[in-house]
């Protein structure tokens, strides 16, 4: 069977499963809708958290990025896993004991202030919308490449599916769908990795194959081969980093702390029955995440070797079908600078900016572009996002593996989108309406508003998926920076310091946010030309600045709270109470 038919079968089957689960796990009240009734077993919550966390970026883009940047890719690997240690040790158990629905709930109650609550809601909405736009884009890419429907139709189908199970099932529907999606995505990620590891090194475990010798007769280690290939083509050695140590330090810290402060991850720990379950489900979640995150760097290095061997000095006319297919989806471009009909792949950019394709074809049948070319020898543009999706084709794996990867990419994008949409709808119906503007609505009305808000959020997310704003990639740094500089410090101090008061928290949050946001906006939007290591503060890039914002938040908050009134006794009692696990199931909202 051809790839397209198989992809239809795989994707159709997985979608049917998701819908079936949604019907089985409908939400009956707001408790079900927001936190799945607080009754999710820890193992299931671990899988759901992993699926929630591993987005289109983790599944589709991360291995591709590592493949191109080598060593420096470690900032994502450590940043997006190390945050779970902070989450498990410092936040999850206490927030579970606190026992409400959302992050703004905690901020608003702990700091007895609706201003703090409102600032939190605004951050939650900003972070979540930023993220969800990227997911819908991922759905669009998979549909357009593998099912050959256009991106708009692809996004609409994705929206329809998410709409169905998020609006109907709320957190309960999402949780159990995410369990299924985790299984699909991890299977889809591992199968090609195992295949390729077997082919290249004879070791079926990619994590080990990565450190083994090649079976092509040369008997040299994969990474040594890769260093040598990279240097031959004028790139830095794969295992040597380009970024400065201080920048790597700050980016890793910002991603870790940002991960621990992301609302759609935190909220998952409200769904388990006990404090003990919150701790262990963070552990399960990290195990499930680590399976993908330790495979990704192995896959990245295999893919890099394969790519260089396949395309460098190959005749354009005889390149495999995948090369032309991706060229047709605008993600690969080739300019024959020296007119020899062969693809030269070296360091440097082949031309300025993203490819602008023209209607006409060149001499060898390649798609012509209108970009002004650069004066290096590189002739090839490859979008990093295609590495994982194209990898099975580059390695020549069977068609069913390619179809499986498409279904896995969709599972990763949809599961994260659903989790984010739920956070958005909860923020609107619960934090804004119920807690601030319409405190008298009944549970039934609140549930209706939650569903309406989810539907509304899906439409906006879909719009951004079809008409992606150029700034999506830029604002991802924003999402982590804001979570790191705002939520993490104030939640942490809310639990570990009884003295921290409203004034300190609000001042800290505003300082952290303003500092981080202005730094990012300045370098990314106002003066992008100056976005180089020389003009950064202490050599810290905008991606890593959230760490400094977090430090400022801590400092200002501690300073201000010394000069202002301590929090009321009731708040101190509440802090005492959340520090002790006992009594979590009978917590406030029941």
């Amino acid at each position: 069977m051809n790839v397209q038919t198989l992809t239809f079968i795989f994707v159709g089957f997985t979608f049917a499963v998701y819908i079936g689960i949604a019907i089985w796990s409908r939400a009956g009240n707001t408790d079900d809708f927001y936190v799945a009734g607080g009754g999710v077993p820890p193992l299931a919550n671990g899988m759901a958290t992993a699926a929630d966390w591993m987005s289109a970026a983790s599944f589709i883009s991360m291995a591709g990025i590592i493949s191109f940047v080598g060593r420096d890719g470690a900032v994502y690997l450590m940043g997006w896993t190390g945050g779970y240690v902070l989450l498990a040790l410092l936040l999850a158990p206490y927030l579970r004991k606190f026992g409400k629905y959302t992050v703004p709930d905690f901020v608003g109650d702990r700091y007895y202030s609706n201003v703090a609550r409102l600032v939190a809601v605004v951050c939650v909405l900003f972070v979540s919308f930023t993220y969800v736009a990227g997911q819908m884009r991922g759905v669009g890419i998979v549909f357009s490449r593998f099912l050959e429907v256009d991106i708009t139709t692809g996004v609409m189908i994705g929206m329809g599916i998410v709409f169905f199970y998020a609006v109907l099932g709320g957190m309960k529907g999402i949780t159990y769908t995410q369990v299924a999606q985790f299984c699909v995505l991890i299977f889809a990620f591992l199968v090609p990795a195992i295949f390729i590891s077997m082919m290249m090194t004879g070791n079926p475990v990619p994590q080990l194959g990565f450190g083994s010798t090649l079976t092509d007769g040369s008997n040299i280690y994969v990474l040594d081969k890769l260093d040598q290939l990279s240097q031959d083509l004028g790139f830095e050695a794969y295992t040597a980093g380009n970024k400065s140590t201080i920048d790597v330090f700050f980016i890793t810290a910002a991603l870790m702390v940002g991960t621990a402060g992301l609302p759609h991850v935190i909220v998952r720990f409200f769904t388990v029955p006990k404090v003990r379950d919150a701790r262990v489900s963070a552990g399960y979640a990290l195990v499930f995440i680590a399976i993908l995150y330790t495979t990704a760097p192995a896959l990245a290095s295999f893919a890099r070797v394969n790519l260089i061997n396949t395309v460098n000095n190959a005749e354009y006319k005889t390149t495999p079908a995948w090369f032309k297919n991706w060229e047709n989806t605008n993600l690969i471009a080739w300019v024959d600078k020296n007119q020899d009909g062969k693809i030269q792949y070296t360091a440097g950019k082949a031309f300025r900016g993203k490819p602008q394709f023209l209607e006409e074809r060149g001499l060898k049948g390649e798609r012509k572009i209108s970009n002004s070319s650069t004066n290096n020898h590189n002739e090839l543009y490859i979008d990093r996002d295609i590495m994982v999706l194209a990898n099975p084709e580059i390695a020549g794996l069977p068609n069913w593996v390619i179809a499986l990867v498409a279904a896995g990419g969709l599972a990763a994008a949809l599961s994260t989108a659903a989790g984010l949409l739920l956070v958005i709808s909860t923020s609107i119906s619960h934090d804004l309406l119920k807690k601030m503007f319409m405190p008298n609505i009944s549970d039934k009305q609140e549930l209706l508003f939650a569903r309406l808000a989810a539907a509304f959020a899906i439409i906006i997310a879909g719009y951004f998926g079809i008409y992606p704003p150029g700034f999506v990639a830029q604002v991802v740094a924003f999402a982590f920076g804001l979570a790191a500089s705002s939520f993490f410090p104030i939640i942490l101090m809310g639990i570990f310091s009884k003295r921290m008061n409203k004034e300190g928290a609000v001042a800290g949050m505003i300082t952290g946010l303003t500092f981080t946001a202005s730094y990012i906006v300045y370098f990314k939007f106002i003066n992008p030309v100056a976005n180089t290591a020389e003009s950064w503060w202490f050599g810290i890039s905008p991606e890593g600045i959230g760490t400094l914002g977090m430090i400022f938040n801590f400092m200002i908050a501690s300073l201000i709270c010394r000069f202002t009134a301590p929090p009321p006794q009731a708040i101190k009692d509440m802090v005492d109470d959340i520090r002790i696990p006992r009594g979590a199931a009978g917590s406030y909202h029941h």
Binding site: P41, T252, P273, R279, R582, A585, G586
Partner: protein, 101 residues
């Protein structure tokens, strides 16, 4: 005990902080220490087909994170039990907990 203001509660919290801080010290030294600050020095050591610093950054630190969380879970369960604040001795909680799947 059950009162969250009692001296036992204070002692429980103190021990809890000690566990958390010692685990975070390990967390910090494997990731920011071995995989970032001292990575170049560790790269001189070969570990199978890897340079050790590179392996710590792309593999080893992640394995350590997983182990750290499970050590934390184990130590905290023991601590909860020692101070009688675990949820097994919490009848109310047990009655309200939905049955496991």
């Amino acid at each position: 005990m059950s009162d969250s203001h009692s001296p036992e509660a204070k002692a429980y919290w103190k021990e809890n902080i000690r566990i958390v801080l010692s685990l975070l010290a390990i967390w910090f030294s494997v990731s920011f220490g071995m995989a970032i600050v001292f990575a170049d020095a560790l790269d001189n050591i070969r570990f199978f087909g890897f340079k050790l610093g590179f392996w710590m950054a792309q593999q080893g630190s992640i394995y350590c994170f997983v182990i750290l969380i499970f050590v934390y879970v184990y130590k905290m369960n023991k601590l909860d039990h020692k101070y009688g604040v675990d949820e097994d001795s919490d009848d109310l909680a047990d009655n309200e907990t939905p049955p496991k799947k």
